[in-house]
Point group: C2
Chain length 393, copies 2
């Protein structure tokens, strides 16, 4: 059996596990059931598009983590995790999408086999893929256990990136720079949206600077004109039009590490209100970035951003940023801190966030966003994509 | 406000709702909370990459469905659903990923405002995006309600496709044919895997026959050599090698309707065991297809397939197929019937499934699969991709 090519050293995985165990101890949790695929990957190296069936990493208070999932994916685990095969457990295929029995019955058996059935067990209660039915099955099949909500526990251990993680995000940042350059180069009036998105995908997966591109956790979001008032529409074959704005919210990805970045393309001469929005966003982002330094709070960035935006005559009700790093579909945010009022997370060197000052106007949207790294003394944009409304022809 | 360009007529949506209501009545359900994005789309036309926050379609026993989700996505709903805006409800952004309050509190208020709080409410208990926390929040905030597990209820209404749905799947089938042709044309020893996947994506999104390509619910799965023993690994920048097999499990997609299809590429002269596996798979598939006709059962296909495979010296423990149609990440199966022993679903004209006879060998995998339509008299392959192990150079 070939040794997996790990994205990180075993020492780094051990450090992550130790950090997570400190959080478990502080919360009085003996056993953690991790169902978020990004958390599973961060703790063990597990990688594969298998999160459409039930699977988990189980972390007890000592020993290596266990991987548990569908038997065919146990083979994928053997090829990707750092632990040796006796830590990998697969359930029979008859459990898959079978209304008569739930895979969690098998996980319950595994937990009991470890002697962990009477302890306090943490669950990622609001995580995608941890369904209501999975929860009830565990409760039913582990009647002696005491339950705790550990949602976000592992996510929070991931906020400060290691040197290798930062290297991966820099590679992802180069990829998204190339993707935006592709948009600027190829987009012309009359071009069908899906043809431009096909070019964006090609740039994304070929990668940049000798580093290959991984799939993004969110597909390219590229609505035009009035569709751009709706943040999460994808694409169709509509033609790009003169006099219309299109925003491209896209990410470069290296080994699941994401550098999301948005730019807005205007074909023709932008109306004054788009220029006014552009100026406002750029000035508000600059004000926010002055607050982006170790020791400050995430809400300091948001307050500086929002008050500047308001002063310039614009409003934004939603958060203006969120933590980024490793992710799997359906989201590239890490679901820890947000840049918004009342979020009092202390900024530390090594944190990475998507500074996302999207503005939705009556008849369109403007997005000029940046993946940002907090450094020892301040903050750094990971990309050098020109920060402006992109205007062409 | 521009009228949405609907993928289906309002009459077709009405028919789907009526069919779903009959199922609700049979189960004694007054109100159905639909959180599966494919089910939401099938009932209302809603489309958008917003399933990473809580959202739902709510179907009462009469009247139009309601759309409920994040306020910024309510704008997307207005642009995509058939219902008028007074049926669309958005919650404040402060509910998003906030440990102190859950969006389901807002949904509970909406349900009470309709007067539905005391009835029997159906929940998609094992759906990816219906989390344990969402479930508990609803129970807590709707204390008078009686609860029912409606997992799969809407999915089962979708198994027999309408004429328009079949048209969309035929368009998707043409796209995946083009994607496989791209593999055959471009793959050569020494080519990096990610560069080939970039070409596959480009073919996928540009589309075929004048029809644009939508994003697949699963990214291309393309493992080579020993990695192909693991079904769900994605890609990296490894080079294609002479003497190695790579399988490509990919889908053409038109307006969210999927035609998945796999082929296996061998560079060089395939070892006898690959040819033996190829022969076995093709003969077993032919035996299965003879059973694929209205009135037979899904297990009849599986039995014919498996017994033929066994007779030829091979075994497959997992199901050999599943229902396909409309889908959103993370899965392109419809999660209703499977082609496996003990699945006694009656085949009907208009059903579409992925006949998925993947065989995993000790040191590789072989996949030669087909999207299939049950017709009035039998079954039809939706694609005309050559059914064979693809051998090059």
């Amino acid at each position: 059996m070939t040794t997996p090519v790990l994205a990180f050293t075993v020492q780094e995985y051990d450090a992550r596990i130790a950090k997570t165990r400190r959080a478990m101890e502080a919360a009085g949790i003996d056993t953690l059931i991790v169902t978020d695929p990004a958390n599973m990957a961060w703790l063990t190296g597990y990688d594969g598009w298998s999160f459409y069936v039930h699977q988990a990493v189980i972390l007890g208070s000592s020993g290596a983590p266990l991987w548990w999932g569908r038997a065919m994916d146990a083979l994928g685990a053997k090829r990707t995790v750092f632990m040796s095969p006796e830590h990998i457990f697969g359930y029979e295929d008859s459990y898959v999408q079978n209304p008569d029995k739930h895979p969690m019955q098998d996980l319950a058996r595994l937990i009991s086999a470890q002697g962990w059935q009477g302890g306090r067990i943490g669950l990622e209660m609001d995580n995608y893929y941890f369904t209501a039915a999975a929860y009830l099955s565990l409760l039913q099949n582990l009647p002696e256990a005491k339950w705790a909500d550990a949602n976000g526990m592992v996510n929070w251990q991931r906020t400060v990136k290691s040197a290798t993680e930062i290297t991966y995000m820099r590679r992802a940042a180069k990829i998204v720079e190339k993707m935006h350059a592709t948009v600027v180069e190829r987009a012309v009036p009359g071009m069908k949206k899906n043809e431009l998105v096909a070019d964006i995908y090609h740039a994304a997966i070929t990668g940049a600077d000798g580093h290959w591109g991984d799939y993004p956790s969110i597909v390219p979001l590229a609505p035009s004109g009035a569709d751009a008032t709706a943040a999460h529409l994808t694409w169709d074959d509509s033609e790009l039009k003169t006099g219309e704005a299109t925003f491209f919210e896209i990410a470069g990805v290296y080994r699941r590490y994401h550098a999301p970045q948005s730019r807005t393309l205007f074909l023709g001469e932008p109306p004054k209100k788009y220029r006014a929005a552009e100026n406002a966003v750029l000035e508000a982002v600059a004000a926010g970035m002055e607050q982006a330094k170790p020791g400050n709070l995430t809400e300091d960035i948001a307050h500086a951003f929002n008050s500047t935006l308001n002063r310039l005559g614009f409003e934004k009700d939603s958060r203006c940023g969120y933590s980024i790093g490793l992710s799997y579909p359906p989201d590239w945010g890490e679901r820890t801190y947000s840049l918004r009022g009342n979020d009092k997370t202390i900024l530390e060197a090594g944190m990475t966030f998507h500074f996302m000052p999207a503005l939705w106007l009556d008849d369109g949207g403007i997005e000029i966003t940046e993946p940002v790294l907090i450094t020892e003394t301040g903050a750094e944009n990971l990309c050098n994509t020109p920060a402006e409304l992109t205007v062409k022809g």
